[in-house]
């Protein structure tokens, strides 16, 4: 589903190495944690997958498509194959919960009928059906992240990318979000989570790809976060 083939990312402006000569494969329906200390390269990996940054070497395959060769105009269509969840939620503040989720469907040209049917389903799945008319500033952090999650899955993308999804949440809410991600994964969606939350990684016993100084130092099928396990 996602394959890095000898991939490198060096930032042109300051020469910093994001990651170097990384090769890894994430299969369809997998749940993968990408972990590592600050500056290890995990954010660069996420940014490259989202095509926010271009590789400086190697090849990236996403859903059997060579993402390295894509032109600027094709990037939006690649992004539609991926739902994205960020640490800071990134919701449109002047839109309701319903409108924030519906927006992802408007972008792909969904009909009014499809929007009326699928948005409530996505909101029900994340437990927000009663808050559909609320604005982001009327929601708790956990509810905002659930809205972002509903927006990410409403078009049923095959891949879900989460960049520190629990970074701004209290531990209890963080576990609720992770439980939702686990549910989504069980329905067949490939989930990639970049995180610092060691307790969650240790507790969920999923595949762990650990990065350090821009290189993959560990790839464990049912791993944990902590240093001694590396």
């Amino acid at each position: 589903m996602i394959e890095f083939v000898n991939c490198s990312k060096v930032y042109e402006d300051n020469g910093a190495v994001g990651f170097k000569d990384v090769s890894l494969r994430i299969g369809e329906g997998e749940f993968v944690f990408v972990v590592g200390p600050s500056g290890s390269g995990k954010s660069s990996v996420i940014r490259v997958i989202l095509k926010e940054e271009e590789l400086t070497g190697g090849r990236l395959i996403i859903d059997e498509e060579d993402a390295t060769a894509l032109g600027r105009a094709e990037i939006p269509y690649l992004r539609r194959k991926m739902g994205v969840v960020f640490q800071d939620f990134r919701l449109r503040q002047n839109k309701t919960v319903f409108e924030n989720v519906a927006f992802a469907m408007q972008i792909v040209g969904a009909s009014y009928r499809e929007i009326r049917r699928n948005v409530p389903m996505a909101l029900t799945m994340v437990g927000l059906s009663r808050k559909s008319k609320a604005y982001p500033n009327q929601l708790s952090g956990g509810e905002q992240q659930r809205t972002a999650l509903a927006r990410a899955i409403v078009n049923r993308p095959p891949i879900l990318i989460c960049d520190e999804p629990t970074g701004n949440l209290d531990p209890e809410t963080a576990w609720e979000i992770m439980s939702l991600l686990d549910d989504i994964n069980r329905r067949g969606t490939t989930v990639v989570v970049a995180t610092h939350a060691w307790d969650i990684v240790d507790g969920m016993k999923k595949r762990v790809i650990a990065l350090k100084n821009g290189a993959v130092v560990r790839d464990a099928a049912r791993g944990g976060y902590s240093e001694q396990l590396w």
Binding site: P76, R80, L91, F103, I107, G109, Y112
Partner: protein, 302 residues
């Protein structure tokens, strides 16, 4: 573009205009001022052109016919001159008519003296020639001079006046084009600044749109429509002002000029309106599209 999308784009554009309502209205009014100057500059240029055309037509060329040439020969010569490419009309002024014209200009003893020459008229026959285009005056003059000795014995023309008029007309045209370009550029800059404010306020939204998979055009459309609303509204005001203001303005100028105004005819307002209104409204749309496209480009690189 589907109905849902179009509805979404228009709603977003209307929200953008409403959110920055003060800035949107002030931009539209500034565009109105530019377009108002534009439409009145054009009508001034069109009138000057029209006046010069009238003056050029009146200041024609006179070719004096040899007395030895028969009437039939003079008629052949008239047809030959009329066939010249830039000649509009050729009128034969007979010896009798020339004397009448001369007598009409005088009074008292001078008039009596002229009229006493009626039986022994010394005035020559002549051709009064008007031109299609004053700019080609010299070419026609050369063609007429070539007829000297072939039925024509002298050609009179006020080349300096015609040349000066043509030059003045060209200067007015160049200045008009310059004013049009300058005001068009100003309008684009004004709309750019307004849309930039809207875009800046929605930077985060644009960023979110990009990550959710929106194409550049999906993001651009609401801003472009917003620019079109401002530009079109800005252009509509001067068109309405012109429609109702040109007639009274011409009347005002005529009364200020007094009897001098009777010498020249002004362009009909409708003649200017049918050309200028669509141009001004299109210009409003174009500056709206250009202004918003330039201002959003930078924010799409995510």
């Amino acid at each position: 573009m589907g109905f849902n999308r179009a509805k979404y784009f228009i709603e977003e554009a209307a929200t953008g205009v409403a959110r920055n309502s003060l800035m949107s209205v002030s931009s539209a009014l500034t565009v109105s001022c530019c377009m108002l100057i534009l439409i009145f500059s054009y009508s001034l240029a069109a009138n000057v052109d029209y006046f010069l055309e009238q003056i050029e037509n009146k200041s024609g060329i006179t070719a004096f016919v040899d007395d030895a040439l028969s009437d039939a020969g003079a008629e052949r010569l008239r047809l030959q001159i009329a066939a010249e490419p830039n000649v509009a009309t050729v009128t034969l002024i007979t010896k009798e008519r020339a004397l009448e014209i001369m007598a009409d200009k005088e009074t008292g003893a001078a008039k009596d003296l002229i009229e006493s020459l009626r039986d022994d008229n010394p005035l020559p026959r002549s051709f009064e020639i008007t031109l299609l285009n004053g700019a080609d005056h010299d070419t026609t003059l050369a063609a007429l001079n070539a007829l000297i000795g072939k039925g024509i014995y002298r050609v009179n023309a006020d080349s300096a006046t015609v040349g000066a008029l043509v030059l003045f007309n060209n200067v007015v045209r160049v200045v008009s084009v310059f004013v049009v370009l300058l005001l068009g550029f100003l309008s684009v800059v004004i709309i750019m600044n307004t849309i930039k404010l809207t875009v800046n306020a929605r930077k985060t939204d644009i960023n979110i749109m990009k990550y959710v998979g929106a194409t550049d055009w999906f993001i651009k459309w609401p801003f472009i429509i917003e620019g079109v609303i401002i530009g079109l509204f800005g252009a509509l005001i001067p068109v309405v002002i012109f429609a109702f203001g040109y007639g009274p303005l011409v009347d005002g100028v005529k009364s200020a000029l007094g009897s001098f105004a009777t010498l020249l005819k002004f362009k009909d307002g409708m003649d200017i309106f049918v050309f200028a209104a669509p141009v001004i409204l299109s210009a409003g749309v174009i500056v709206g599209v250009a202004g918003s496209s330039f201002s959003i480009r930078r924010y799409l690189r995510v």
